[in-house]
């Protein structure tokens, strides 16, 4: 029995080997024949896969309401709804801001030093696709005022896979300068992208709309790619691009790691040449112009520069936002020793997908937070309640805190902010802050000058908030109540009676305010210093409101009255005449204001940018 089996198996083995060998031989013959004939080879044809976005996972801001499908970022997923038409449609993805209007306001953060000139991004969005592919093209369908996309990145992580993230890498597929297309018409933007060596189904688009005339609107993103890794042609040896070397995003963590080790490797103490003659302060001044990664690299060159580059005086202002893709807990721990005098820190956009942990951030704060005055933490999804508690404990001097779009923070987290009694500027745009927390913040932070509660949907009664502001925060200069659902004329009246120094007030899409109650006229009379007023989509704004503004608010610079049917040309003319500093006037969808009138007024008042959006 058993010898028979072994004989049979040997027999089969030999036969199979022969068959396979003959197989390869015939294949080889076949391919040689193919080569001889010059016909198509036996290699499989790579099929290009085209995909529309499946889900928008993250974004920094959007125009629409939090539970809506109008002008919200979620519209970017799926097939295009508007393209190739152009116009201001609800089915597109729109960011919250455009142009330079918001930067001109006093409520914006002042620019951080050492921002690299190659970093232009103001907003971002992350879009996941169904299937990971090696990208060959990315097409962005822009349907209104195109030209905002400044960077496209691809991530090595598959957001839909159940496995925990390992080694998340972001690769820049394309980067460019902020642009302005010649017309606001729709276009398909398809820059030539870099080939990368991993499959991706997660793209990130960064935008800058500072040169655009109006809100940019995106309809869809198409990702074209191949499933198998494309074979690099033999003649094209992968050249190490010189730009890659100076690509600061790669270097900061490694630089941080190396810094502490290489204290100074000059074995022969030759001195530092002329550098020894320069005063310490002068070298500090020279070095202060370097962006942070270069600072880290310079620290590795010699002992003298190590001393200069690790001097805490170089790290009084630190912006890590341009390096969000590479910042990790390790980087933070290496920067720790130098940041003891830190006053302004920008960590917006950093640390997502596990790169920075709450613990790492907390230890950084404990070491470096004692002199902190300004802290930008927009879109930092690693933040937890513990982090806010540590911030409240260790940063008693904190004056500016930005938690915009930190929508994963639980409502009770915001109670800790009340301990920061020196707060002057607080941004809680698109967070889950609740009424009790904001009331307690307002009670204990009477120095507040700038407050942003845009799209804070969990606050139940804005009248109570307004009342508290009027009672406690009398030095308030700017207030953003974009899309606050239930502010009434009583709340507004209390607000303007208490906060007399208000210069900027955003009441866009606050539908409960009725002009017939006289609230806008009262507002105009109460706030002579008013410079910015947004009454976007308040359909009740009428001529008498504009006339009161003309009579009382001569300092007015920005005015948005989108979507009202009740404003006529006469009151607009009066306003333009009486407000010489007016720079922005948005009269989109005001039915009595047609393009002819806009043209005429633009001619008469050339310093005013009059905006009239369109849908067809």
């Amino acid at each position: 029995m058993f010898p028979m089996l072994t004989l049979l198996s040997m027999f089969y083995y030999i036969c199979l080997r022969r068959r396979s060998r003959s197989g390869t031989r015939s294949e080889a013959l076949g391919s040689r024949r193919a080569v001889e004939l010059g016909q198509r080879s036996a290699l499989p044809v790579t099929v290009e896969v085209e995909q529309y976005g499946k889900e928008v996972l993250d974004f920094s801001s959007h125009y629409g309401s939090e539970n809506s499908m109008s002008y919200t970022m979620w519209n970017l997923a799926g097939v295009p709804n508007v393209y190739p038409s152009s116009g201001d449609f609800t089915q597109t993805a729109v960011f919250r801001t455009y142009g330079s209007w918001w930067e001109q306001c006093t409520s914006s953060a002042s620019r951080f030093r050492r921002t690299p000139p190659s970093f232009h991004s103001q907003d971002y969005l992350e879009l996941a696709f169904e299937e990971p592919v090696y990208p060959t093209a990315v097409e962005v369908l822009e349907t209104y005022h195109p030209g905002a996309v400044v960077k496209i990145l691809a991530c090595s992580l598959n957001p839909f896979s159940q496995n925990p993230p390992v080694d998340v890498r972001w690769e820049v597929l394309w980067a460019g300068k902020p642009n302005k297309a010649l017309t606001p018409q729709a276009r398909q933007f398809s820059p030539s992208i870099k080939q990368i060596n991993f499959a991706t189904n997660l793209l990130r688009l960064e935008v800058n709309s500072s040169l655009l005339e109006y809100y940019t609107e995106l309809d869809a993103v198409i990702l074209r790619g191949v499933r198998e890794r494309p074979i690099l042609a033999l003649y094209k040896i992968p050249v190490i691009d010189i730009n890659d070397l100076s690509d600061s995003e790669e270097e900061i963590s490694e630089a941080g790691g190396l810094c502490c080790r290489s204290g100074g490797e000059n074995r022969h103490n030759l001195g530092n040449g002329y550098f020894d003659r320069l005063p310490y302060e002068l070298i500090q001044l020279i070095v202060s112009h370097l962006p942070v990664p270069d600072l880290c690299r310079l620290a590795q060159s010699c002992k003298l520069f190590h001393k200069h580059c690790c001097d805490p005086l170089q790290y009084i202002q630190l912006s890590l936002q341009p390096y969000w893709a590479r910042l990790t807990d390790a980087s933070l721990s290496h920067l720790l020793s130098r940041c003891t005098l830190l006053q302004r820190l920008n960590m917006s956009w950093t640390g997502n997908r596990g790169a920075v942990t709450a613990a790492g951030f907390c230890s950084f704060m404990k070491a470096c937070g004692v002199s902190l005055v300004c802290l930008e933490l927009s879109c930092c999804h690693f933040l937890t309640e513990a982090c806010l508690e540590v911030i409240a404990q260790t940063c008693p001097c904190l004056q500016e805190l930005n938690l915009a779009s930190c929508d994963r923070l639980q409502p009770q987290t915001f109670n800790h902010i009340a301990k920061l009694t020196n707060l002057r500027r607080l941004v809680l745009y698109r967070t889950k802050v609740e009424q009790s927390a904001i009331l307690s913040i307002l009670t204990f932070c009477p120095e507040l000058k700038h407050l942003n509660l845009g799209s804070c949907v969990m606050i139940e009664d804005y009248d109570v908030v307004a009342s508290m502001l009027s009672a406690r925060c009398r030095s308030l200069r700017s207030l953003d109540l974009w899309r606050c659902r239930n502010l009434s004329e009583h709340g507004l009246a209390e607000l303007v009676s208490g906060c007399r120094l208000l210069e900027e007030l955003d009441l866009g899409w606050c539908s409960t305010l009725q002009s017939s109650s006289g609230c806008f006229q009262h507002l105009a009379r109460s706030l002579p210093r008013l410079r910015k007023l947004f009454l976007t989509a308040n359909r009740t704004v009428c001529d008498s409101d504009l006339e009161e503004l003309a009579a009382n608010c001569s300092a007015l610079e920005h005015l948005d009255i989108l979507g009202t049917r009740m404003v006529s040309s006469a009151s607009l003319r009066k306003l333009l005449q009486c407000c010489p500093r007016l720079k922005l006037l948005d009269v989109s969808f005001c039915s009595q204001v047609d393009s002819r009138l806009v043209q005429e007024l633009s001619g008469l008042f050339p310093n005013v940018s009059i905006k009239k959006s369109f849908t067809q």
Partner: protein
């Protein structure tokens, strides 16, 4: 012993069969639409699914088929507002909600509420009002969920008889319940009903059931027996025959509307209320005719 086992097996199968659906297959609606605007406005090129001031939509998502009709209230024309804008935008918004899956199959009121909310989120200042009727078929559970606000409505016909129908909601004669967006200051004067006051209903359907969703232009001009007569001519469940039947119903209603001597249901109702009128009621007519069939991809 074997017979006990075999009996046991039969019993078990029967019990399980009774517990689970007798029919594990998904149902779907095959729908055709037809309609006529009140005036033959040939020059105006409206997007499909708009007939005069009426609008409708047919949409599907993973687990449900959804239909909707909306009848724009014509009285707005006197104030310089185009009544078709509101109904068309409402229907297109509801269609988009369905296509993006932002709804629950068992809650057509949710679609109306979300749709109305989205209308208010539009930068364009919409004005106007309309009735609305939404019909959802949940494919797996074989249930129809409906909600009706106003005097549009639906009929469910099985075996040549009407087994379900919607009720008209009127404030007073010729003034149905309506969703509306009024100009500022006129909110107290203009009728504005909330989606919550709509009538909802849910019921099971069987294969071969016919669902007719229409605006009052149909029901005011064609009594039930005429509609049933037309539906009897529907032979099979393919799209072309449904389209043909829908067309014939709409055409017949359109003809009757302009017949001055015909005692239409509208005239009958007016007479019952003391108004001595006769004839059809010229109005926009929208007809959505659906048959419940098996789901094929």
């Amino acid at each position: 012993m074997l017979s006990v086992l075999s009996y046991g097996r039969i019993v078990a199968r029967a019990v399980l069969g009774g517990l689970s659906q007798t029919d594990g297959r998904d149902y779907s609606l095959i729908t055709a639409s037809c309609g006529f605007g009140k005036d033959f406005r040939k020059g105006i090129l409206k997007k499909g699914m708009c007939y005069g001031d009426d609008a409708c939509f047919i949409a599907r998502h993973k687990s449900a088929d959804v239909l909707g009709v909306a009848d724009g209230v014509g009285g707005w024309r006197d104030y310089g507002v185009d009544p078709s804008q509101f109904s068309a935008t409402l229907m297109r918004t509801c269609e988009r909600l369905v296509k993006e899956g932002r709804f629950t199959p068992s809650s057509p009121v949710g679609i109306l509420t979300s749709g109305y909310y989205e209308l208010l989120q539009n930068k364009v200042p919409l004005l106007g009002s309309s009735t609305a009727c939404i019909v959802i078929l949940d494919r797996r559970s074989h249930r129809i969920h409906t909600c009706n606000l106003g005097d549009s409505g639906f009929l469910v016909v099985r075996g040549g008889e009407v087994v379900h129908r919607s009720d008209e909601q009127q404030h007073y004669f010729n003034t149905p319940f309506q969703l509306s967006i009024a100009p500022p200051g006129a909110e107290g004067v203009v009728l504005s009903d909330s989606p919550e006051v709509s009538d909802s209903s849910s019921f099971d359907v069987q294969l071969g059931d016919i669902i007719l969703t229409a605006t009052d232009g149909l029901f005011d001009n064609m009594p039930d027996y005429m509609i049933l007569q037309e539906l009897k001519k529907l032979k099979n469940t393919n799209y072309d025959s449904i389209q043909q039947t829908a067309r014939s119903i709409a055409e017949q209603a359109h003809e009757l509307a302009y017949d001055p001597n015909y005692m239409s249901p509208f005239a009958q109702f007016a007479c019952d209320n003391g108004l001595n009128v006769r004839g059809g009621k010229p109005d926009d007519i929208t007809v959505l005719l659906s048959i419940v069939a098996e789901y094929t991809d």
